[in-house]
Symmetry: C2
Subunit: 148 residues, 2 copies
DNA sequence: GGTTGACAGTTAGTCATCTAACACTTAGTC
DNA sequence: GACTAAGTGTTAGATGACTAACTGTCAACC
């Protein structure tokens, strides 16, 4: 074996590398707004899925309930999100992005699209479709921190 | 726009998901040895590349010099690695896995191969090669935390 | 030969995340 | 109705990683 599987010559090494590059690419955008990566992601998600409960946020961000809890505390302290107890099930808290929160992350998704577009620049549309299809085969069998 | 680019329907969402799954899959193996992910990775790398300097370790792990420093402190305290100042350049420290360190991560790379194999199970060899080629096109243009 | 700037690593302080334990709510069961 | 188990969220403590500032070393240049 010429190379360790931890290195970029392996498929998983490539994946981790690209994921890392994406993270780095988004950092400027995020830092301007004084948010963390996960905060931006959560806020962006909430603008598109108002009333998400915390447990689902944990699922889509693939993190823990505890992390979501403290993450939202930070956002709430800054008035960017609002938590309301679900009247129909008082265990749950429905989370909403406030007007300020929505405005702060306005353009977040377009920024992400831009980053994706830049990273995928070497591939033409047909190749992107092929890549997407291959990856879908893999994700289809993955463990389940999925959204509904 | 039917979906946020943060979600698994996008290519970058898929990548992050798979990278996350890989991490989770390795956790059992790692926890048995009371190591962190980065520690395992570094120790595995050092068994295959003895005498690596810390700055290069930071590059291949795509982290900071400070993180490598404290990471190695932990490994050195447990006698798993050894740091020797490079006699030819006293700024540098050459890092070696000790015998104990090598034995501890013996099988690390085969474990990684197993994880990769499991994740890629849905793809046949030709498809894996295609995936690898597509990803290589992307990584070829990425910013440069590369090895030599 | 001293000065300057780049390179290599460490330290201190901060922040985010995780795990484990806890409190509260709901639903099922006797 | 009381008991039990599962679902939801929070808190506390430990860990890990980052940024910024620092020390020490090398190389280039006048």
């Amino acid at each position: 074996m010429s190379d360790s599987p931890s290195e970029p010559t392996t498929i998983l090494g490539q994946l981790r590398w690209i994921a890392w590059a994406q993270r780095k690419a988004g950092e400027d955008w995020i830092r301007e707004r004084e948010l963390s990566h996960e905060q931006s992601f959560a806020l962006g998600y909430l603008t598109q899925h108002p009333g998400t409960i915390q447990r689902e946020l944990a699922r889509v961000t693939r993190t823990s309930a505890a992390s979501v809890s403290s993450l939202l505390q930070g956002l709430e302290r800054r008035g960017l999100v609002e938590r309301r107890t679900d009247p129909e099930n008082e265990r749950r808290k429905l989370v909403y992005a406030t007007e300020a929160g929505s405005q702060l992350v306005a353009g977040f998704d377009t920024a992400l699209v831009g980053i994706e577009d830049e990273l995928l620049a070497p591939l033409d549309p047909a190749e992107r479709a092929a890549l997407h299809a291959l990856l879908a085969r893999i994700t289809a069998q993955l463990p389940q921190p999925t959204r509904d």
